[in-house]
Amino acid sequence: MSRIRDTFAELKHTARGGFIPFITAGDPDLVTTELLLIELAAAGADIIELGVPFSDPVADGEVIQRASERALRKGVTLSDVLRCVSNVKQHIEVPIVLFSYLNPLLKFGKDQLAEEAKRTGVDAVLITDLIPEEGGPWITAFHDHGIELIFLVAPTTSNDRLARIAQLASGFIYAVSRSGVTGERNEIPRDAESLVKRARAASDLPIAVGFGISTAEQVRQVWRFADAAVTGSAIVRQIESLADSPDLVARYEAKN
């Protein structure tokens, strides 16, 4: 059993919705990222998505773009991100999903990444610009090392395609709540619930909903029809606003 499957089984058993926070690794610096991961786990995160900074994040809105820029200005690399996971995994059990664009992973090498991910305690990888049609070698490499590859589905995804993606996906299915980039929104579109229904018809895997989920109320709304909610930009924006304070982590905790 994978840790991600265990997590969703436990959520189902206790009839709870899952909460999946996202932060960008190295924003504002790697030490703070390690502290934040430990605090997020202590605060009850069920899974954590850890963003690998990239120079050209086309799927991201301004908040996560700026977080990537801050991390890259500090020179943060994929190796640093993996070291960061390795360090915190001595203290926390919560599954960690690397959230990345393809090019930095391609440069690192898929087999080397699969090995390093296994060694450092990464549970799964989500690659925003890798669709299953181009993903064959990555699926194989990760499968061989027991790393799960998370695929996205979107409101524009047809039912036929949902079925094909479901066959290749592992861990959970990430349902994009709307056509658009990441970022806070005022409401959850109706598309999201119908997408989750369509995905349920295609797959038995748990379904997490992300993109634009920014308030506690929205998280609860998502839990009514999906297994977990992902919140990114709303958290990253708080990190941004507190980044210059030495007590960022403590104040972040107090706010939540």
Binding site: F54, S55, D56, P57, V58, A59, G61, Q65, L72, T77, L78, L102, N103, P104, L105, L106, K107, F108, T128, D129, L130, I131, E133, E134, F151, L152, V153, A154, P155, T156, T157, S158, R161, V176, S179, G180, V181
Partner: protein, 407 residues
């Protein structure tokens, strides 16, 4: 009448030329890209589509463009006869209009009322704004802040044509960032928006589709040179940013093995990463041009050792881009085409030389091809022929070059 030529460089059904090309996009864009591919494949086989397209290219854009015998450049080079394919004479002043007309017709077929585009030098933005005015479509053009500064005249032209120009302040503030912003717009507004991409880049079907609309350049040039000289040229020379003017000229000659295909990349002002836009330059310890994925396609990409996309430099905004179209990557690796570099200084030399010797002021992008072409001509005999793709005119660059004088 255009036909769809099947050659060795036809991609597979998912848009792969060997390991290059394909689709590396967020899931949301797969359905609109499928819809676009299907519509393009239908249009490609539809005589009515080509009838309308060819009529517009003739009556609105001014095709066919002449193939001009550049006698004074030829004398200067002291070798092969140099011919210029005069894409600079087209409406809006560059080859970009060929693709803009074709894709605007597709947008209309698909019932999309809103068109978005990216632009570097502004030539593609102007071409898109122009066809949107012609078809009554709402037009939004994304342009990096650095390019807005160095191509102010084209920004004014686009606004005059009714387009909304959005300045992009992210990243390096050039073409790459304009494409990122256009992709973010498209992923947000997929239902009513057509993304009119301007070069042979991006996810399938764009590289194939842009090549199709630009290969009119090479088809005409091939007929013209055969009719004037009775033989094929020894070499074709074109500048390569994303690579649409080059692939448009090269493609109809790919099966003619005796014709050298030479692409000229921007050598900028130095060899180190960030100082040039030469994607086939494998570079230094800090990184260089390597196989990677940028903006939807697998190709050669200028990047650092951690896979972050590198900044680029070129005196010409249209060549100032970190990746090259995937078919060029394929032609490079297969050895069918050669890729060389011309520096900023060489481009300026070509710019001035072409103006003084032929009375033609080429775009700074195009100017990169002039000095390398003179060297190629010099090594050939007088009874041989080469063709330069004079892809655009240089009015837009006059102010920038004036600011550099005297050197």
């Amino acid at each position: 009448m255009q036909k769809s030529p099947i050659t060795r460089s036809e991609p597979d059904e998912h848009g792969h030329w060997g390991e290059f090309g394909g689709r590396y996009v967020p899931e949301t864009l797969v359905a609109p890209l499928d819809e676009l591919t299907n519509e393009f494949m239908r249009a490609r086989q539809d005589p009515n589509f080509w009838g309308e397209c060819n009529q517009l290219l003739r009556d609105y854009c001014g095709r066919p463009t002449p193939l001009f015998h550049a006698r004074r450049l030829t004398a200067h080079a002291g070798g092969a006869q140099i011919y210029l394919k005069r894409e600079d004479l087209l409406h809006t002043g560059a080859h970009k209009i060929n693709n803009a007309v074709g894709q605007a017709l597709l947008a209309r077929r698909m019932g999309k009322r809103r068109v978005i585009a990216e632009t570097g030098a502004g030539q593609h933005g102007v071409a898109t704004a122009t066809v949107c005015a012609l078809f009554g479509l709402h037009c939004v053009v994304y342009m990096g802040a650095e390019d807005v500064r160095r191509q102010a005249l084209n920004v004014f032209r686009m606004r005059l044509l009714g387009a909304e120009v959005i300045t992009v302040n992210a990243g390096t503030r050039t073409l790459k960032d304009a494409i990122n912003e256009a992709l973010r717009d498209w992923v947000t507004n997929v239902d009513d928006t057509y993304y009119l991409l301007g070069s042979a880049l991006g996810p399938h079907p764009y590289p194939l589709m842009v090549r199709q609309f630009q290969s009119v350049i090479g088809r005409e040039a091939r007929e013209e040179i055969l009719s004037v000289t009775g033989k094929l040229p020894r070499a074709l020379i074109a500048c390569v940013g994303g690579g649409s003017n080059a692939i448009g000229l090269f493609h109809p000659f790919i099966a003619d093995e005796q014709v050298r295909l030479i692409g000229v990349e921007a050598g900028g002002r130095g060899d180190s990463l960030g100082e040039h836009a030469a994607r086939f330059h494998s570079g230094t310890a800090s990184g260089g041009g390597q196989v990677g994925v940028l903006q939807g396609t697998m190709s050669y990409v200028l990047q650092d050792t951690n896979g972050q996309i590198a900044t680029t430099h070129s005196i010409s905004a249209g060549l100032d881009y970190s990746a090259i179209g995937p078919e060029h990557a394929f032609l490079h690796n297969s050895g069918r085409a050669e890729y060389i570099r011309a520096s900023d200084a060489e481009a300026l030399e070509g710019f001035r030389l072409c103006a003084r010797l032929e009375g033609i002021i080429p775009a700074l992008e195009t100017s990169h091809a002039i000095m390398p072409a003179i060297r190629v001509a010099h090594e050939l005999s007088r009874d041989e022929v080469i063709i330069i793709n004079l892809s655009g005119r240089g009015d837009k660059d006059v102010q920038l070059v004036a600011g550099l004088q005297p050197q």
